[in-house]
Amino acid sequence: MYYIHTDPLLNSTTLALHDGEVVTFFTEQSPLHPAYLAWVAEGNTAEEWTGN
């Protein structure tokens, strides 16, 4: 599942893939980004990460 992580002080965001206990943060340059775009194209939307 994809989430958006926000830094409240900097107000910056990072995309993250949560897969079991592993969290992978990535940018548009990551090889993971095309899979994220495909996931979005299927009508999905990443939710805001709200903590543990």
């Binding site: 830094d7 592993v22 969290v23």
Partner: protein, 305 residues
């Protein structure tokens, strides 16, 4: 005495005397990510596998060629009828590719086949690809073109293969690519082994360049590095109430700002978050909170092509 005189007819000055090999980890010594790999992505440092299913890439130390400690094994799963083409490649970034434009280059490598290697005529193919983009992975080059397309015949003994190309045409990025074409049902030893891969600007091959392992590791860590919990020294401070900002000093400057950072849940239960180049540990009390990484916890940071 001039260097060329002291070396006599074996002088290979067009190549220079050091850092001849533009490939990194050609002798497969560095393997930061794990032990074996079965899906598309990076495997041993800097080497990318382009296929998922029925193949395992691993680092091995079992009977390497003389003068080497490691090699890469690309093994088809015994009993598999999957004949997808296993591909192993290293992509050169543009800053390493442009100096090769218009030059003759020589590829050399050591390879052998398993007893049940199923490729027709025991063939192993290799190609040099060119691309017109900048700093891309060879599997997704813009304007991808085959610059050289060659094959060799493997046996179950190590052989060194070399080939010198005509002058490379003017692409902005080059990648070296190996693949085989398996057939039928895989036996127990349907694999090829490879190491000592060198790509040098030269009119003939020179011996494989043995760089100090610390140098080779640093070259690899410019693209990827992995911290294991017990080996980390953090710079940390309380950030915003219940958050702590943790900063990892990189062992070397990365090629670009990391585009992929992966970590597992830490001891104490927190899930870290990322902000810029720092990691935020969230939802901790301002006093009395705790979290740490142990040997089972790692952080992988990638700026790979």
């Amino acid at each position: 005495m001039a260097i060329s005189s002291s070396l006599g007819s074996s002088a290979l000055l067009p190549a220079g005397l050091g850092f001849r090999n533009v490939l990194i980890n050609g002798d497969m010594r560095i393997n930061q990510r794990g032990s074996s790999y079965t899906s598309v992505g990076y495997t041993l440092d800097r080497w990318y596998m382009g296929v998922t299913g029925a193949y395992t890439v691993s680092q091995s130390t079992s009977t390497p060629p003389t003068g080497f400690q490691n090699f890469m094994r690309v093994q088809r799963t015994s009993g598999s009828t999957n004949t997808a083409v296993p591909q192993i490649a290293q992509s050169l970034e543009t800053s390493a590719s442009i100096p090769l434009q218009g030059k003759q280059v020589t590829v050399s490598f050591y390879a052998r086949a398993g007893a049940n290697y199923s490729a027709s005529s025991n063939t192993l193919n290799y190609r040099i690809y060119g691309g017109t983009g900048t700093d891309q992975n060879v599997f997704s080059y813009t304007g991808q073109a085959i610059v050289q397309d060659l094959s060799v015949t493997l046996t179950t003994s190590w052989q060194r293969f070399t080939y010198t190309t005509t002058a490379l045409t003017s692409y902005n990025e080059y990648g070296l690519f190996f693949f085989s074409s398996p057939t039928g049902t895989a036996g127990a030893d349907d694999y090829f082994d490879i190491t000592g891969i060198q790509l040098e600007q030269n009119i003939q091959p020179t011996p494989f360049e043995q760089r100090p392992i610390g140098v080779e590791l640093a070259l690899c860590q410019r693209y990827f590095f992995k911290f294991v919990g017990a080996a980390i020294t953090w710079l940390s401070f309380q950030y915003a109430g219940t958050q702590y900002r943790l900063t990892l000093p990189h062992p070397v400057s990365m090629r670009i700002a990391p585009h992929t950072v992966s970590t597992s849940t830490w001891q104490g239960g927190t899930t870290p978050s990322l902000s810029g180049s720092s990691i935020l540990a969230t939802n901790w009390a301002t006093t009395g909170g705790w979290f740490y990484m142990n040997e089972a916890t790692s952080i992988e940071i990638s700026s790979e092509l």
